[in-house]
Symmetry: C2
Subunit: 604 residues, 2 copies
């Protein structure tokens, strides 16, 4: 069916049911970032393939609300669909809940799939709709009526991430969680975030591309725990291991009815920002007002990586460093020999090299392999139909990452393929200065990401230049490549950066139609000294892939910045050396040791 046909079919349904609007948020029941096909409803309905957006259909309007990353893409993909693009962030655009509040009639009815919308989103709409008496009804899976070949739940096997990788036994995590539940005066908790469940139970799977979680809900009380999931994914050994820790399995869909049987003597703990509205309705039927809606305690605990996880991250970055040394060497030599290499060829080569590494599970996201002006789109995605050939000039940007059993990576390097313009070299230098400034920061406990973010921007702001995305995000340990609760961005997020957090540092600079630059390292926050002025924290870089220094404008760099680059590249070389062939080692030496700013000083 075409988007036009889908919208007509949905309007027919609206008329039959007496709905005045339908909202398709395009998430799954777990507020996930990456979705199995079954829940890619927004894409199926509209044809829009971006990762963020909401479709609203009324009798006389169909609209897609999305942000600036997708304006160009959405314009192209919505052509002829009859769906209007609402550009979020533009001065005249109101978001879809406000748009509905303004445009729907009094006492209108809005239908949502309550499974695919978190409680907090529905509550936000309800608050905006109250004045006009507009109601929200939840009809789980209403799309089934028109999506006849809708895919089923994926069924890849689940496996245990052993304590040698996870660093903390499942029983220990469950005991900790039970204390946290009790501290809130609750008798149980309902977890619905897939990465929280996977972290807590030390289980993983491959149901969803790039996110090795298991599709499930988890209910934990003081005595029991039930994992609602596709039971066939669990073999006998894993089922027994879970049972030994008091975790029983139950069918995924059975949670809807089983809530009515949960003990309700004590309040239940939910996280309304993540829990879907359909389950929340069942929870309130059972618990009434005895519901504590607060951020899940797992969210922060999971972000504070333990020593084993940190060691695993180091190992993952070491592996990625080897992979990228091989990749960049291959690229340089192939281009020198005049081979025809497209952006997709390059990405495929990288992935094939990664797959050779021990413990490789998956890419942690689809690589962004972008040459020249394509790199000016921060979320560029090459397709076989639209894909540039790499040429021996200008800049090539590669943003990629992997999940290994040890840990997960996310790294961006921008490298010169030949001569650069003055602007390219200048911006390359400023962006790197931003990455270095944040990497070298020392700050007292209590400092938020929104305080630190500016450090990565100042070298660009100095010249009235800027990038339109955040500076950094948390990274899960063999989980989601984007995880909270911390962030490194301008939003006034009240979450301090704490020891054990692993956060990316990825300033960039994008010159439309010409080039794009991004340098991304991964930073581990650790405790430095405590003195009368505070408890001091700092960052350690986990990334182990060399920085190409040839484009750098040396006059712009301070001695400290040169020292940082020298130390970093020396450390990359020394760390990777044991695992490289002599030819690879010789090549990496030309990119690192042979390019130091102050070779004598470092050799002392």
């Amino acid at each position: 069916m075409t988007p036009k046909e889908n919208i007509n079919a949905l309007r027919q349904m609206m008329q039959n049911e007496g709905w005045d609007a339908i909202v398709i948020s395009g998430t799954d029941p777990h507020s996930s970032e990456y979705l199995p096909l079954r829940w890619q409803v927004r894409q199926w309905v509209s044809g829009f393939t971006g990762s963020a957006g909401t479709v609203v259909i009324t009798a006389d309007h169909a609209g897609l609300w999305t942000d600036s990353r997708y304006f160009i893409q959405a314009t192209a993909q919505l052509e002829g669909s009859g769906i209007a693009l609402h550009k979020l962030g533009m001065p005249d655009t109101v978001d879809y809940p406000e748009w509905m509040a303004a445009n729907l009639a009094e006492k209108a009815t809005v239908c949502v799939d309550g499974l695919c919308m978190p409680l907090a989103t529905v509550q936000h709409m309800q608050a905006l709709f109250a004045d006009k008496g507009i109601g929200v009804v939840s009809r789980p899976d209403f799309i089934d009526a028109i999506w006849s070949d809708r895919p089923a739940l994926p069924g890849a096997p689940a496996f245990e991430l052993g304590v040698e990788y996870a660093g903390r036994a499942r029983a220990d995590k469950l005991a900790w969680l039970r204390e946290a539940i009790a501290a809130k005066g609750c008798g149980a908790i309902l977890l619905s975030s897939l990465d929280e469940i996977a972290w807590l139970l030390n289980i993983r799977s491959s149901d969803i591309a790039h996110t090795p979680v298991v599709i499930a809900y988890l209910w934990v009380s003081a005595e029991r725990a039930v994992l609602y999931t596709t039971e066939s994914k669990f073999d006998a050994a894993l089922t027994a291991a879970l049972a030994a820790d008091g975790v029983a399995l139950a069918p995924y869909g059975s949670i809807v009815e089983s809530i009515a049987a949960w003990p309700n003597e004590a309040p239940i703990y939910i996280d309304g920002a993540m829990l879907n509205y359909a389950l929340y309705e069942k929870v309130t039927e059972r618990f009434g007002a005895a519901v504590v809606d607060a951020t899940s305690p797992v969210k922060l605990e999971k972000a504070l990586k333990n020593e084993t996880e940190i060691q695993g991250f180091r190992e993952a970055y070491r592996k990625d460093g080897i992979v990228q040394t091989r990749f960049f060497r291959w690229l340089e030599e192939a281009l020198a020999q005049g081979e025809r290499i497209t952006e997709i060829d390059a990405a495929n080569k990288l992935i094939s090299l990664r797959k050779e590494m021990d413990g490789y599970l998956d890419e942690s996201f689809a690589p962004i392999s972008a040459y020249g002006k394509n790199a000016a789109l921060p979320h560029y995605s090459a397709t076989p139909e639209q894909c540039s050939v790499l040429e021996p000039r200008g800049l090539y940007l590669l943003d990629s990452g992997a999940h290994y059993l040890d840990g997960s990576t996310d790294i961006t390097r921008t490298i010169p393929l030949g001569p650069l313009t003055e602007d390219e070299a200048f911006d390359y230098t400023c962006v790197l200065q931003g990455m270095i400034a944040l990497s070298m920061a020392s700050f007292p406990r209590g400092t938020r990401g929104c305080h630190l973010d500016i450090l990565a921007r100042m070298p660009l702001w100095k010249y009235n230049r800027n990038y339109g995305h955040g500076t950094g995000h948390g990274v899960g340990h063999v989980l989601c490549v984007h995880e909270g609760p911390q962030g490194m961005r301008q939003n006034l997020l009240d979450q301090p950066i704490l020891p054990g957090m692993v956060t990316s540092c990825e300033p960039g600079m994008y010159c439309e139609g010409l080039y794009g630059i991004r340098h991304e390292n991964m930073l581990l926050c650790y405790e430095d000294e405590a003195n009368e002025y505070g408890d001091w924290l700092a960052f350690m870089t986990l990334t182990c892939t060399y920085i190409d220094t040839t484009p750098l404008v040396e006059e712009l760099l301070t001695e400290e910045e040169k020292m940082f680059i020298d130390c970093f590249n020396t450390s990359v070389y020394e760390t990777l050396l044991p695992d490289l062939t002599p030819e690879e080692a010789a090549w990496l030496k030309t990119k690192t040791i042979d390019c130091l700013f102050e070779p004598e000083e470092l050799e002392e």
Copy 2:
């Protein structure tokens, strides 16, 4: 009466009235920072002279809650009073509302003077008290029963700040306000912040030390405006001028009863963070739920200085620059001649020099004149009893400011009186680097003070050093020396720094028992270029007092920092030259032009 006697008398009153606790917040009906004697109730009751704190008295406990600025002072002043010190900000201290919620019995009654407590504070208590059914009663001026010689309202004359200083006519401001009221769907507004009223009506007085406002409330509807104030302060001409703009006078105290007669067809606009609870009670009696509680629109409008005000600030800083040139020259020569000069002598000399300037009204706050280890207390106040003699070594800190008819100043300089230790010179340099970094910042529209604050701290954080106060505050135009809505501090305050805002930049470094350093300039935000990356804003320094460069550790400074200092000191010299005697000019030249880092380059 002694604090002990006061507390006994208050406990007697509590028993007679059936109150379980009394809260004395120690502010006035207008949430002012500086108070006339009449409203210095906290000080009268407790003997504590700090500018912030709350006293709570129950049957068996009397406590003062205050912050770290006053721990030492409060400990001394409360000795023998029977009042316990609760140290806010310490890990184990809960604030007084939480303390009462925990320590009072169910259904207890808490008495406050509703005139001297803003609505928002009472609402916060009520929310905390709800679970235990604890009630809050307001008894305006209950202290009258035991404070027999309580001072009356001050009666200094009011005067008009002409449009040649204010830059905008009263009628124009009233028309703007009426649009803002209508935009909120309201029929009138009740203003209670003294500086907002003074700004709106272009009136000033000298009722309160350091804050040239008029004690008043202002009610503005679409057709009328009534200023509730001490009418005898207004002469016939000013009364007529106000009447010509539709502003009638009424007795200050009559507002309480007149609210019942205000038109109530449309909702009324109040600012519950500032409006006292006693008036709010009357407002709800009259308007019921038709009350819009939001930040006063005057708050932001007043902070965006117009061209005349900006020119006035420049003029005020020029005058202050002359004063301080004379002062520092006098100090240097007096010390060289072996004169005995105390911290108070120095402050008095400065004030006497200021009084010679045209248009001088008042100090904008009591000068902080602090030598050596005294300067390590950021809010040090020398007294005749406790006051150091300046010696020809170490650092002297002078934080002071004035109100001139043109504008208001706030400036800190720390100067060497002789040889310094290495630590003193090092910290002197780092603190100045922080001031320079913030002063030179370029940033896109939308940037908050909590984003920029870190720039002033980084040169100290680099060495795990810090200061415990905010970096900057707004400054009123011949109004409060501390004004909002913007701030330059770590708190996640959602207020962008906007063109026209005048904000201090005052990093410091305090080494207990040894020395204190603070450098403070005043920054005007202005619009720089707009390009595809944003609307760019930057700062211009208004301050015109030289920076002593002799303590600077040159190796720590970048070329850019040296250039900033050179340009600043050159500009100070050139701006002040026309008004200095030849001897003064020669002396200032030795502090500026003769000390440039790169004299040749600047002379080209």
